[in-house]
Symmetry: C2
Subunit: 267 residues, 2 copies
Amino acid sequence: MDGIDSELRYRVQVLDRALDVLDCFTFTERELSLAEIVRKTGLNKTTIKRILSNLTRRKYLHQDPGTKKYRLGLRLFELGGIVFSSFSLRKAADHYMEYFRDKTGATVLMGTVMEDQLVYIDKREGHSLIRISSEIGWRRPLNYGMLGMVLLAYRDTRYVKKILGAYPLKPYTRNSIIDEGQFFTRLEEIRKRGYVIEREEAVEGIIGIAAPIKDYTEKTVAALGIALPIGQDKTGDLFNALANELKKACENISSNMGFKKKDSHTR
Amino acid sequence: MDGIDSELRYRVQVLDRALDVLDCFTFTERELSLAEIVRKTGLNKTTIKRILSNLTRRKYLHQDPGTKKYRLGLRLFELGGIVFSSFSLRKAADHYMEYFRDKTGATVLMGTVMEDQLVYIDKREGHSLIRISSEIGWRRPLNYGMLGMVLLAYRDTRYVKKILGAYPLKPYTRNSIIDEGQFFTRLEEIRKRGYVIEREEAVEGIIGIAAPIKDYTEKTVAALGIALPIGQDKTGDLFNALANELKKACENISSNMGFKKKDSHTR
DNA sequence: TAACTGTGGTTCATTATATGAAACTTTAAA
DNA sequence: TTTAAAGTTTCATATAATGAACCACAGTTA
């Protein structure tokens, strides 16, 4: 892609290292001690201590006075909130996300493309016992699951090829599409129907239904999806009905975002 | 408070400056050019350029290829998401927040205390035309509005005095309490009733109803509030009924958080 | 209770590394 | 076409980051 070493000439060592420190914290590793960070980064203890002191003073980290361990701080929550609030899509989709969550009891997710990756920008968690693991802010390859497929379906072939080159199709489950030809057929199908129904292709036991959201530029700017536990709906009629309803909802959201549907006779 | 210059001995200049750069971005100023950042920070152009390059490379900032302007990046959204997801209260309160939003059509807010300040950790935006301005992640003085009062009501007097010392009561509206004695009476009243009804004390035209959430430590860990547009309810009966319902809801959330109500005869 | 091990915290001489003035290159306005 | 302002790059300079070595403490082992 563009610039493997983009602007490495301007590299600032300490800053880079400080960001390495922040990178140590993840959804699963929320609390780290100085020593743990030293091990993870391989940097000198003093350097880490200095960086930690600074980040803590500026509230980018928070130190538990008792255990001395560090957590990500309030400032990151604030800055993240600024980014979060800038997704105007969220407001437009809010009502529908709740509607589908309440109707199905399942988890509803919204995702968009950022830097050639799928990013979850909002979700409504379902009440069901079967949960899919997903958090706002998580990134996935753009060819992953219902949202990825919808987002790719409306991009040109060159772009899709580029993505598949960078992130080859992986067998997440036994139903996952791993053949590129099949994948392109699938995208074609999404464009034709205006939605996707994905049966345990990303997560075992989960059926995904998703549709695209477009804005005034007529580009697909996001995808909205419902992650249902696989169930009793043998014929699939319920899923089809739900998919159509979701498609309608996404069309409404799209028109709120300024999308004007072309007259069908205009081609 | 604690350590005006906490650990300034370990100060790392570049890092501090890089964080100054991030501080330039706010909810209202989302996009900045290099020159604007230079003006805001007063630092040398080259230094800023170096810092921007690094932060951009690491996705803490994002540069618009067209306008060359910078925005806060995806990485901050991710890191913020990690902090956001760590508030388990959010999950416990989710259902009730939506319930009250749908019932009243007003905005529902949840706040907690962080570093002696009130921080909004979740919200459900109402459908009403009259909106209060509040974003997840925003901070306010702990004596501000319905959430602040509830959070302070269950703290000891010394702490409240300390907060009032640091942030004197301000006349946000003509109804705001600015007298400390009155303020303490108010807190007393909140403890007695178990909720607060605040009439245009924080925002003109808005009535706030809020109640405390406690956890297994029996401490008040958060407050949940509804911001209603001032209306036709002359007698206040509807507000009282709503307040009681909110109080009940918060008791339920509290018991989900492990709070065990003491038997009343135990005192 | 002494030796050991793994923490966090501190000092300070050394030089690698951040710095900023100045020059250069766009881009935008006049 | 000139002027101005923004963005970019270079490079000599010394400042500011570095990390080995050391201290202090707590918990564990012998």
